[in-house]
Structure formats: structure tokens, C-alpha cells
């Protein structure tokens, strides 16, 4: 009985010590806090860039699909099919290579001149990556809108761009809002590979602690838990959003 209590007590004290060592001593928890901040910064920046890119690429692709066949030959048609080729190439390359490789190419090859701004390089790399996935989400959103909506817009006298802007895009975005929010959640986790370029994100924060305290269990568990809680929180939010949107459809 006494021995058992002793064992528990030892274990508990050990735990307290490693905890203190990893998070309290030298304010090491601040390494995680700072990392979390950067994780959010990169994720948010990349999401915004990804949506911008995604909308543009989706517009090019669906405009081409919808109109190129019926277009009269001329400069407009040439430009549109060129843009469409570029967009397809972008989608193929980005979706056909690992994001970590893209990030390293961005950091070590393309943006060497601004390599000290790791956050910016990461935002650009993940933004370009995310844009390819967002583009396909938004394109499916545009394609899912009843063609009658497009015709109604055109029959009032709106040109192609105005019809897209006032009538098609708002409905398409609303339809794919949950999918876009999911893309944000995926990015939160995906950006963890940015410690490969030495960016101090949440994962790197845990890594730094591990390398200083020579204990792996506690800091890595903490990192995993923080990701999990954040992802669960946002997943919950997306579910609520989805329900709201569905109700407003009626």
C-alpha cells in the first residue's frame, strides 16, 4: 500500500518536473504562443491569397468552358484559350506535387532575395498551393448554378462580367462557403511543414523546446493537442455555418 502510493507520488512529481522544465522554465510556453501566432498568420494570409487566386482561375476556366465553343474567332478567343491553358498548367503542377516540395522551391529557389521574410514566403507558397484547390471548389460552385440564372441576368441586359459578379459568384460562393472553410482548416495543419524552412510556427515551437530540454513527449504532445483543439473548434464553427446556410435556403 505504502509502496504503491510512493510510486504514484514519484510519477506525479516527475510529470510536474517535466512540465515545468518544458513550459515554465525560461517562459518556454512563449515559444508555443509565438509559433501559434505565426501558424495563424500564415494560414490566414494563405487562405486570402488562395481565394483570390482561386476565384480568378475558376472564372477563367468556367468562362472558357461556357463560352469558348460559341465564340467568334478573334483576339478575345485567343486570349481566353491562352489564359485557360495557363490555368490548367497551374492546376496540374500544383496538385501534382507535394506542398513541402513547393514550399522549399519557393524558399530556396524563387524567393531567395526575400528569404529573411519566412512568413511572407510561406504565405505565398501556401497561398499558391491552396489557390489550386480553391479554384476547383469555386468552379464546381459556379457550375452548380442553374443556367437559367445566367440567362436571366443576360436577358436583363447585364454583360458576361456583370452577370458573373452580381448573380453567379454570390450564389456560388454561398454554396461553397463550407468547403472553403474546410480548406482553411486543412491549411492550419498543412502549414506545419513550414518548419522545414525554419519558420517559427506552432510545430517549430515544439521542436525548439524539444531541442532545448531533450524531452520529446511533453512538447510534441502539447503541439498535437493545440492543433486538435483548434481544428475541432473550427470544424464546429463550419458545421454551424452549414446548418445556417441550409436553413436560409428553406
Amino acid at each position: 500500500m505504502y509502496l504503491y502510493q510512493l510510486a504514484i507520488g514519484d510519477w506525479w512529481n516527475d510529470l510536474k518536473d517535466t512540465f515545468t522544465l518544458n513550459f515554465i522554465d525560461d517562459d518556454r510556453y512563449m515559444l508555443l504562443v509565438k509559433g501559434l501566432g505565426n501558424t495563424f498568420l500564415v494560414t490566414l494570409g494563405a487562405t486570402i491569397l488562395g481565394i483570390l487566386l482561386g476565384v480568378i482561375v475558376a472564372l477563367v476556366r468556367s468562362t472558357y468552358d461556357k463560352t469558348a465553343l460559341g465564340m467568334r474567332p478573334g483576339a478575345g478567343k485567343v486570349v481566353l484559350s491562352l489564359l485557360n491553358k495557363i490555368a490548367s498548367l497551374y492546376l496540374t503542377v500544383i496538385r501534382g506535387t507535394p506542398v513541402l516540395v513547393q514550399l522549399m522551391i519557393a524558399y530556396f529557389v524563387i524567393f531567395v532575395s526575400i528569404a529573411q521574410h519566412k512568413t511572407i514566403v510561406a504565405i505565398i507558397a501556401f497561398g499558391i498551393n491552396s489557390g489550386a484547390y480553391v479554384a476547383e471548389i469555386i468552379r464546381s460552385g459556379i457550375m452548380s448554378i442553374d443556367p437559367g440564372q445566367f440567362e436571366a441576368g443576360r436577358s436583363l441586359g447585364f454583360n458576361y462580367a456583370q452577370t458573373m459578379l452580381y448573380i453567379i459568384i454570390p450564389q456560388a460562393l454561398k454554396n461553397v462557403l463550407p468547403a472553403l472553410a474546410n480548406e482553411f482548416i486543412v491549411l492550419i495543419k498543412e502549414t506545419s511543414v513550414s518548419c522545414y524552412i525554419g519558420l517559427h510556427d506552432l510545430t517549430k515551437g515544439g521542436e525548439i523546446i524539444r531541442s532545448r530540454t531533450y524531452t520529446a513527449f511533453m512538447p510534441l504532445l502539447a503541439v498535437a493537442l493545440i492543433y486538435l483543439v483548434i481544428v475541432m473548434f473550427f470544424t464546429r464553427l463550419v458545421n454551424i455555418l452549414e446548418r445556417r446556410l441550409r436553413n436560409s435556403e428553406r
Binding site: 442553374d146 436571366a152 443576360r154 448573380i167 450564389q171
Partner: protein
């Protein structure tokens, strides 16, 4: 009715699949100001194609369409300006579900005609009162019945102050008890002198409101005349067969 036609269609053809399908096979037709022209005919006869060619939702393969004196099939025409003057009402209403009724009605006038919001909304309210829906201005399309949606679609087109209104089977998607309320609105418009081209299977409406009936079959205009000529005194066999089926 003035002598000068507002729309003049000449030998209009529309082919699909490199001529394998002749949706329109040389249709000629004049429409005068204030006239109500009703197009009837069996399914697949080219009624919709003809109507949708008038505002270039379909680009004809050959032939010409003069609207207010200008050939709209020539490359120089501003299709968007043209469409502002030709309202269209669809079988499936095609209201914008993300906008309120008020915004559905004011989007075009505000963005295309540059009418200030207050004035556009005042116009819209007046039109809503005309179709007895002034209390639904703030509702969304999904909150309306089919008949209400179609009445809104009609006044949305009217809000652009068009010279012509095109209707493609405006009552075909409605429950029977809602057909009347939409036809009543269209009758009022006809009485007020609106130029209308109506594709419909409502023979009662065609007879009562139409000034001229066009019967189409296989992409051609087979018969044309006053309701009396078409419904009472026709000698045309195809028309007789068609009427025997629908009347």
C-alpha cells in the same frame, strides 16, 4: 397598331449539329407595336428557339432580325443594350434566390440604367402594387408560391421599361390553380398596349388575348392568323391535328 413593325424576322434559321437538327428552318415574321403574338405548336417545333433568337439568347445560323429598324444579328450591335429593351419571362421564373424581391427588381434599373436606388425602389413598389405583391418586397424568392414568383418575374422585366416582352411558357411550371393569376397579369399588360410575344400551351389565353396566332411545326411557320382564323376556320391538316390534341 402602327404599320411599321417593331420586330421583323426574315428567313431565320437555327441549325444544331452541323445541320442535322433544324430547330428553325427559315421563319419570317413581323410584329407590330402593341401587338400580342402567340406562338403555338407541338413540342420540339422550335417555339423556344424562335423566341430566344429574338433577344439573341440563341445566335441564329442565318437570316436577319430587325429590331426597331436595326439588324441585331450584325456584328456591330450592342447585344446588352438590345436586351434591356426586350424583357424576358422564363418558364422556371429564374428569380435571383440570393436577393430580396425588391433587389431582384431594382438590380437591373440601378446597375444598367443608372437609376438611383430611391427612385428604382419607388418604381418597383408601384409595379409590385400592380401585381398585388407590394407586401412581399422584403421576402426572398424561396418564400413565394410559383404564381407569385412568376408575377415577380414579370414585373422584374417590366422594371427595365422594355419595349417588348417575351414569354416562354410562363405558366407551364405552375400548379393549375396558379395559372389564372399569371395570365391575368399578362392580360392587363396586353390591354395597356405592351408588345408581347408569348409561347404558350394555354389555348384559352391565345384565343382571348392574342391578336395573332403563329402555328409552328418542325422549325417552320405553318399557319398564321387571327385567333378566329386559327381556331375556327383553318383548313391546314397539321394545325387541325394539333388542335384536336390540345383543345
Amino acid at each position: 397598331m402602327s404599320a411599321d413593325p417593331i420586330i421583323s424576322v426574315n428567313k431565320l434559321k437555327k441549325y444544331y449539329n452541323r445541320g442535322a437538327i433544324k430547330a428553325l428552318d427559315g421563319v419570317s415574321l413581323d410584329i407590330s407595336k402593341g401587338e400580342v403574338v402567340v406562338i403555338i405548336g407541338p413540342s420540339g417545333s422550335g417555339k423556344s428557339t424562335l423566341l430566344r433568337s429574338l433577344n439573341l439568347l440563341e445566335i441564329p445560323t442565318s437570316g436577319s432580325i430587325l429590331f426597331e429598324g436595326n439588324d441585331i444579328t450584325s456584328r456591330g450591335t450592342d447585344i446588352n443594350k438590345l436586351r434591356q429593351k426586350m424583357g424576358m419571362v422564363f418558364q422556371h421564373f429564374n428569380l435571383f434566390p440570393h436577393l430580396t424581391i425588391m433587389d431582384n427588381m431594382t438590380l437591373g434599373p440601378r446597375k444598367l440604367l443608372g437609376i438611383p436606388r430611391a427612385e428604382a425602389e419607388e418604381n418597383a413598389r408601384r409595379l409590385l402594387a400592380k401585381v398585388a405583391l407590394e407586401d412581399r418586397a422584403g421576402a426572398y424568392p424561396s418564400q413565394l408560391s410559383g404564381g407569385q414568383k412568376q408575377r415577380i418575374a414579370i414585373v422584374r422585366a417590366l422594371a427595365m421599361k422594355p419595349d417588348v416582352l417575351l414569354f416562354d411558357e410562363p405558366t407551364s411550371a405552375l400548379d393549375p390553380e396558379m395559372v389564372g393569376e399569371v395570365l391575368d397579369v399578362m392580360k392587363d399588360l396586353a390591354r395597356e398596349g405592351m408588345t408581347m410575344v408569348v409561347v404558350t400551351h394555354e389555348m384559352g389565353f391565345a384565343r382571348e388575348v392574342g391578336h395573332r396566332i403563329i402555328f409552328m411545326d418542325e422549325g417552320r411557320k405553318i399557319a398564321e392568323g387571327t385567333p378566329e382564323e386559327i381556331f375556327e376556320h383553318t383548313e391546314n391538316e397539321r394545325l387541325k391535328t394539333f388542335l384536336a390534341k390540345v383543345l
